[in-house]
């Protein structure tokens, strides 16, 4: 076995793979600026990083659903704030094609290693990069959790409860839905009465949604047009102006080109900029620096190939549940609870596909047009928690890839099946997931193109997920049969990585407190889906945004109390 060759091959973009310390690497790289100084002991001279910008009050790393809302909030409070985003700042109107492959740049394409019995697909499934983060390609499906989602341990004796109640979060859900523009049904058919309805009527139902209505009605399952963070009508956006209504492109997962989808780049980010926030795209953070008391003093990052340092009084990590724990692990930061990287959860997202005599043309319209939460706590279920049901539209390349992986069709059989594309519709679930000792993130020996250890994600669905999937598959096949589908098949998948820096009441078993502050480091906060104590039975984006605003408010309160 050519082991050495394999190790070398592991560096896909071999940019000085051996030296991991970026400062040391900069020095050894014989940079002209550093060459002037007599460098005898490079390790003792981290100040060699040249550009040291002024200190900011708050530095935010990552501009997705976790970073953008709090960036705006902190800027509006008059603080000097800055955000570093690993990816570029796009102009969707001119840059975004209606083409899946051409839009690959929206995904975090650095390689992550997927281990375990149910390896998690990353890339387009689970990650994002660019100013706006994963919201640039989220489906915009934004149901709220139901109150008991936050109390899985209280109700079932397994998993973890949230240290934040639904009542505390509700005003934030109201605020986010109104600000970014969520289209949805009022009143909402499931859960307690709400103090505020959706600001816009639901988006129109596409074919898949109509088929799900047809099938579910026959089985007595209640459905409703879903809540989607895309505009069903023109909407005035502070900091942006008028945003146009959705044109039913159906390409939400490959980027919205007309600003109708409520991604961070057309909502909270312009608001933040309007209030003075500075945005630095193409900035990849490698190091978090601390003083002798253990407080964060700043970060080192790479910007267009150049090492830079940014000092800050407070740091907000919002890189998502892979990059956030990776940064903590790489920097040996906030690790005293032993929970960083652990409790990795992923939503069961089983899909069922069928072929219909009707013309479907599944690429049109908001993909997740319809919802049912009748299965939120199904009676007589043999599992903990529950799931939601949704109709799904799909783009052709994504669908073809799933047919190849899931159905294992190839050759003429695959080509023949794909000719049914305009007659195919899907339905899927999004279900809760329990943490398990076998499911975690770690740093691998193998290095990436930056010379940093690749994250390895271990995920094996456990008994509870298996039972939930079995329950859901039976129901979904039933709905699709009732709707008239033939050639029905299921595709097993898991979506969203959650829980790798969880929130809790004590630093003994959690990384951050209920306000998002890291127990070990008083001026370090985390705001993204890594802090979720449980997975919830709904898509995470809306809750990430709500928590982000709450973390900002709690931070601002603490500043007023001067107890920080």
């Amino acid at each position: 076995m050519p082991d050495e060759e394999i190790l070398e091959e592991g560096v896909l973009s071999p940019i000085e793979p051996e030296i991991q310390d970026p400062l040391l690497r900069a020095l050894i790289a014989d940079e002209p600026a550093a060459a002037a100084a007599p460098v005898a002991t490079p390790l003792e001279q981290p100040q060699a990083v040249p550009a040291e910008a002024d200190e900011v009050d708050c530095l935010v790393i990552g501009l997705g659903a976790g970073g953008a809302p709090l960036l705006a909030r902190l800027a509006m409070a008059g603080l000097k704030v800055m955000a570093l985003e690993a990816g570029p700042w796009h102009n969707p109107t001119t840059d975004f094609a209606t083409d899946e492959k051409a839009q690959d740049f929206l995904f975090w394409n650095d390689e992550r290693l997927a281990a375990g019995a149910d390896p998690l697909a990353m890339g387009k499934n689970n990650s994002g990069t660019g100013v706006g983060g994963s919201t640039l390609h989220y489906t915009a499906y934004t149901p709220r959790p139901l109150p008991d989602d936050l109390h899985i341990r209280r109700d079932f004796g397994q998993g973890e409860d949230w240290p934040v109640s639904y009542e505390e979060l509700e005003p934030y859900y109201n605020e986010v839905e109104r600000f970014i523009g969520v289209s949805g049904p009022t009143p909402y058919p499931w859960g307690p009465a709400r103090s505020q309805g959706y600001p816009m009527a639901p988006l129109p139902l596409n074919s898949a949604a109509q088929l799900m209505v047809r099938g579910a009605e026959k089985l007595g399952i209640k459905t409703s047009p879903a809540a989607n963070a895309a505009l069903s009508a023109r909407y005035y956006q502070e900091g942006v102006g008028w945003r146009e209504a959705c044109t039913n492109r159906g390409f939400c997962q490959a980027g919205c080109s007309n600003g109708a989808k409520s991604s961070m780049d057309v909502t909270y980010i312009p608001l933040a900029v309007k209030h003075g926030a500075e945005i630095q795209p193409n900035s990849f953070v490698t190091e978090i620096e601390r003083d002798e008391r253990g407080r964060v003093t700043g970060v080192v990052y790479t910007h267009n190939g150049e090492q830079k340092r940014q000092r800050c009084r407070h740091l907000f990590l919002c890189g998502g549940s892979v990059e956030t724990p990776r940064l903590l692990l790489l920097n040996n930061l906030g690790l005293s609870s032993g929970q960083v990287g652990r409790n990795l959860m992923a939503h069961p997202g089983l899909q069922v596909w069928g072929t219909f005599a009707d013309e479907v043309r599944p690429n049109k319209g908001i993909p997740g047009g319809l919802i049912s939460q009748d299965t939120h706590r199904p009676t007589g279920a043999d599992f903990v928690g529950g799931y939601l049901l949704q109709s799904i539209g799909v783009m052709p390349v994504t669908f073809a890839g799933q047919v190849a992986r899931g159905r294992k069709y190839w050759g003429q059989q695959l080509r023949n099946y794909m000719k049914n594309f305009n007659h195919i519709a899907g339905i899927n679930i999004l279900g809760d997931c329990l943490p398990h000792a076998d499911n975690f993130l770690e740093l691998a020996e193998e290095k990436d193109g930056r010379g940093l250890p690749k994250p390895r994600l271990h995920f094996s669905a456990q008994e509870n997920e298996h039972r939930m999937n079995a329950h859901a598959e039976k129901i979904m096949r039933g709905i699709w049969e009732a709707a008239g589908a033939t050639d029905i098949w299921s595709f097993q998948r898991y979506a969203h990585v959650i829980g790798t820096a969880r929130m809790g009441l004590s630093g003994d078993d959690a990384v951050v407190d209920a306000n998002g502050r890291v127990f070990d480091v008083p001026n370090l906060y985390i705001s993204d889906n890594s802090t979720f104590p449980s997975a919830l039975s709904v898509n995470p984006a809306l809750t990430i945004m709500a928590l982000s605003l709450r973390t900002a408010d709690k931070f601002l309160e603490s500043q007023q109390r001067r107890d920080n």
């Binding site: 899946e100 051409a102 039913n248 052709p396 073809a400 992986r405 794909m418």
Partner: protein, 201 residues
């Protein structure tokens, strides 16, 4: 249900219209205009030829005898540039190694089953060798260290995505989602915009 068929030429006709954005047109046109000849950048010529032969069975194109949609160049290019799609099965070695090992392993399967290299086999024999790989437990020492099922899945998925990204493959399945300007207004069951293709069968 019988297999639907769609008229040729429609996507190509739509590309020139105002229904397609500049960025979209550029992406699709570049695939249509890709030169037929390709010099492999990473794989050795004989390895690349083997990859082409495998792609030719995973996506047989008897309907395009003279100019099949080329699927192997994009794989070689990606490997040469060190691009990834964001993840890799931990069970597999890094992509370059996996592709080289796996293609060698396909020759091994061919030798074990038919005592000849893959490229010397008949189409039926080649399909049998690939089916043995797809089934996950093929003969050959390669497959004692390389996970056959995962390797096949990854290779097939990449070729599949390359194939259906091509405008001619999109014509084949009656997909015209690229022509989305100014909007889709008819999105319900059995509704069709004028520019959407009718079934010809």
């Amino acid at each position: 249900m019988s297999v639907p068929t769609y008229p040729n030429g429609t996507v190509r006709a739509l590309l020139a219209t105002e229904h397609v954005s500049e960025a979209t047109r550029a992406a699709l046109q570049s695939r249509l205009d890709a030169p037929a000849a390709y010099e492999p950048q990473l794989l050795a010529p004989e390895t690349f030829a083997l990859l082409e032969a495998v792609a030719g069975r995973l996506f047989p194109q008897p309907d395009r005898p003279d100019n099949p949609i080329a699927l192997a160049p994009a794989v070689d290019q990606r490997l040469a540039e060190g691009r990834a799609d964001g993840w890799r099965y931990d069970a597999l070695p890094p992509d370059r190694e996996a592709v080289r090992m796996g293609l060698g392993g396909i020759n091994e399967i061919a030798q074990e089953l038919f005592q000849a290299d893959f490229m010397a086999l008949s189409a039926e024999q080649q399909d049998a060798a690939l089916q043995a790989l797809a089934d996950g437990n093929p003969p050959g020492t390669t497959w004692q260290t390389l996970d056959a099922g995962r390797f096949f899945e990854e290779l097939l998925a990449e070729l599949t995505e390359n194939y259906y990204a091509h405008p001619l493959a999109q014509e084949e399945i009656g997909y015209v989602g690229m022509a989305d300007l100014p909007a889709w207004t008819k999105i319900g069951l059995n509704e069709r915009e004028e520019r959407e293709l009718k079934l010809s069968s």
